[in-house]
């Protein structure tokens, strides 16, 4: 009898568990917010919860002031810190997503494919957002299957940064390390590197693997993914050759293991950085590092150029951020208005003014901001105050690179694709596989993930 009662109680408990499990899910993927009416002249009210945007520096706060003034009675609340995808997913799963999301542009495709964020066509039309002003590659990054899911802002590009003294001592120039002549770059790496008994004391050239493989492939005229975001091209000849070359640069200097150990031990953000201490010949690096170097080691013997294709043309592989409106947002109208104002030319002008004032106060030159908005970029380039070489050359290279950007197209399996690609490169760097073998395997994994994700997106599961 007692056992019967216990069994019954257990059954009720299990049933309740299953019932509750049914109740606890199903809040995601809502279409809440799709009934919103976007109108740039409308009076707005309510709360606007923003996730992923810290808003701590003058470039953020000056634009926020403008956005808040245009939102009228809307009460803006920032959720501290950068986007934590777990936090966002938890909020979505519990039916309480933020009103607005600030994410990396390469996350937009996956979020859009899963219905976590809203298409922005109505928002763009209603608020009158000038999509034609955005850097084309930035807009492509937030456009999935022809639909825009994010309002891009900022652009990150790579420059060739080099130590002019080390180049000169090796009888080389910046042209030898900007990627236009790959053979020369390999030779420069070997010429500038110093290796003491297996330990690398001076890195000649750091080809910045695994993260910059897509850049090197693009510089050789290829791409790691097709333009429509449906086909992985990791086992293409161009990809394999680019990886072989970039890995060989490490091999010429004692191997990746030794170079990474030296790289990890460097004072990257301090006055003792690798360029200031003459322990790095050259590397491609994002433009924000130019500001760091200018600030912490203004006397470092720097030389700058864009990264160049094998044909000698400037090229960069762009990234950046984007505003997106989560499905189920409680205030999509305010979210759209915020995204429009924050990325407007007026806002960027205010940000540049604030940055110029601060840099003047600190006695430092203003090296520009890449906004993701071509009109704003043009205006801000004219406000830069870096008049002396080498920093003026760095700024010029930055704006040149900004006009020659490529990106990966938005796709519904960006995390899986990146993971497969980087894992392949890491296996080669760690000596566990040859480039062709590793990339062939990555191709299979990445293509399977893309096929599955596109099939799910198109309901052909």
């Amino acid at each position: 009898m007692g056992i019967d009662r216990r069994a019954r109680a257990l059954g009720v408990f299990a049933a309740a568990g299953l019932l509750l499990s049914g109740c606890a899910v199903g809040t995601g993927g809502q279409s809440g917010g799709t009934d919103a009416e976007f109108d740039s002249g409308a009076e707005l009210s309510g709360d606007l919860t923003v996730m992923g945007f810290s808003g701590v520096d003058e470039v953020a706060t000056s634009r926020m002031e403008l956005a808040e003034s245009e939102l009228g009675d809307v009460n803006v609340k920032l959720i501290e810190g950068e986007l934590d995808i777990q936090q966002f997913l938890s909020a979505v799963a519990t039916g309480d997503p933020p009103s607005l999301l600030y994410a990396d542009r390469d996350q937009i495709g996956s979020l859009a494919a899963r219905g976590a964020i809203l298409p922005l066509e109505d928002c763009i039309d209603g608020e009158g957002i000038e999509t034609g002003d955005f850097v084309e590659s930035a807009l492509n990054q937030v456009t999935l299957d022809g639909t825009v899911y994010g309002i891009p802002e900022f652009n990150t590009v790579q420059l060739t940064m080099a130590n002019a003294d080390l180049l000169e001592a090796a009888g080389m120039s910046i042209d030898d390390v900007n990627g236009s002549d790959r053979e020369a770059m390999t030779e420069a790496a070997a010429a500038m590197a110093q290796n003491d008994g297996g330990k690398v004391s001076v890195i000649g050239v750091d080809s910045k693997l695994p993260e910059f493989l897509p850049l090197w492939v693009a510089a050789a005229g290829g791409s790691v993914m097709s333009e429509d975001g449906r086909t992985a091209q990791l086992d293409d000849e161009t990809t394999i050759e680019s990886l072989e070359w970039a890995v060989d640069i490490y091999e010429q200097q004692g191997g990746f293991s030794a170079i990474k150990a030296t790289r990890d031990a460097a004072d990257f953000f301090g006055g003792g950085n690798q360029f200031a201490t003459n322990t790095l010949g050259a590397m491609p690096m994002e433009q924000w590092y130019l500001n760091v170097l200018n600030e912490v080691s203004p006397d470092a013997p720097m030389a700058f150029d864009t990264v160049r294709t094998t044909e000698g043309e400037p090229i960069a592989f762009a990234g950046g951020s984007a505003w997106a409106i989560p499905a189920g947002s409680d205030n999509p109208e305010a979210a759209c208005r915020w995204a429009r104002v924050m990325t407007s030319v007026d806002a960027w002008r205010a940000a540049a003014d604030a940055r110029v004032a601060l840099r003047e106060e600190e006695g430092l030159p203003f090296t520009g901001i890449l906004t993701g908005n071509t009109v704003a970029d043009e205006e801000i380039e004219g406000m830069t105050t870096a008049d002396e070489a080498p920093w003026s050359e760095g700024v010029a290279a930055m704006y040149e690179a900004n006009q020659n950007t490529r990106t990966l197209p938005a796709n519904p399996a960006d995390a899986e694709f990146d993971d497969a690609m980087q894992e392949a490169v890491n296996r080669v760097l760690n000596g566990q596989a040859e480039p062709a073998e590793a990339l062939a395997k990555a191709q299979q994994t990445a293509q399977a993930a893309l096929d599955e994700a596109w099939a799910e997106l198109e309901g052909g599961d």
Binding site: G28, A261, D419
Partner: protein, 335 residues
């Protein structure tokens, strides 16, 4: 109350046909006593449940419910954003052909096999030293325990600095005795041994448990052993080890489970924000792969199935340890 009671606590039934023995007064046959006892039992049960309720609620909400729910999710295709779609045992079938899962299992097993014995040996060695440290024991006990307070994420970062193949302090120390240290953080062959060495940083808690066990060994046993002519080694194997075997067993079980669930340090060092692009297959432990599936690829159903596989593996290993312990662990209270 003067009711007579039989052994076992069952009260005797009064018999009206016979006079009370020795003239003792017997309670009238009202049935009040059983009712009172039942009421008292209910009160006791209620009090017990009341005191237990914080734990029970915590257990139900934070352990039982998530376990039941994850078992359900393991049978679904669930991306956190959209509703779970029932797929039966598909996730479990997919696990069988997942090469990365097998790699992660292998790495985790290798790590546990290397880490647990080293952890126990180092803990025991330090506890033995502390046992002989006299007055300084308290100071060193605190010193050994302090690293346990360090956040695992900080330990992960420290690992990269201390074990840096080029400028790390570990290789510098090895260099002083003529050993050319390996590339601990980049050479796949040395990543796991490096992480094992780094994990020894936190032996403090085990040291304190073993020290307490060592101090509980009765001195008379050593005196008797000495009288019987037992030397240091014989005393250690015939007196010390059997007497502290329950503590050793506890440490082995707990650390085996912890090793099979290792995550924080390796994730921070090889997969976290500071190292978001460079990773190392050698550091892909099971829970790291589970985390990637859940929160990077949003395969929450598959990750749930992985969690249940790990639960099963840990259950089996712990059960084996319990069976083996019956032969090797000595409990004083046992006959």
């Amino acid at each position: 109350m003067t009711t007579a009671t039989r052994p076992g606590g069952v009260s005797s039934q009064p018999d009206d046909s016979k006079p009370p023995v020795g003239g003792a007064r017997v309670a009238p046959p009202t049935g009040a006593a059983p009712r009172n006892r039942a009421r008292a039992r209910r009160r006791n049960l209620f009090s017990a449940l009341l005191f237990l309720s914080p734990w029970m609620i915590g257990f139900l909400v934070f352990t039982a419910w998530p376990m039941i729910y994850s078992a359900y999710l393991s049978l679904t295709d669930y991306d956190v954003i959209n509703n779970p779609e029932f797929v039966g045992i598909e996730n479990y079938v997919a696990m069988a052909s997942d090469e990365k899962l097998l790699l992660a299992l292998g790495n985790t097993a290798f790590f546990a096999l290397l880490q647990v014995p080293m952890y126990v040996v180092v803990s025991l060695g330090l506890a033995l030293l502390l046992d002989r440290a006299g007055r300084a024991s308290g100071f060193f006990r605190t010193v050994f325990f302090l690293p346990k307070m360090t956040p695992p994420v900080a330990v992960g970062v420290l690992f990269l600095l201390l074990f840096n193949g080029s400028n790390g302090i570990v290789n510098a120390a090895l260099g002083m005795v003529g050993i050319d240290g390996p590339s601990w953080t980049t050479d796949p062959n040395w990543v796991k041994p490096g992480l094992v060495l780094m994990s020894l940083w936190t032996v403090g808690a085990s040291v304190i448990i073993l020290l307490a066990a060592l101090r509980n060994v009765p001195k008379e046993l050593y005196e008797s052993a000495q009288l019987d002519g037992a030397g240091f080694w014989r005393q250690a194997t015939s007196v010390t080890l059997p007497m502290i075997s329950p503590a050793l067993f506890f440490i082995i079980v707990v650390n085996t489970i912890a090793a099979l669930q290792t995550f924080d340090e390796a994730y921070t060092a090889f997969f976290g924000a500071g190292n978001s692009t460079y990773s190392n297959d050698a550091a892909l432990f099971y829970v790291i792969y589970l985390f990637q599936q859940a929160f990077e690829f949003l395969n929450m159903g598959y990750a749930s199935a992985m969690a249940w596989l790990l639960f099963l593996v840990i259950m089996i290993i712990t059960a084996i340890q319990l069976v083996v312990s019956r032969r090797l662990v000595y409990y004083e209270g046992d006959r």
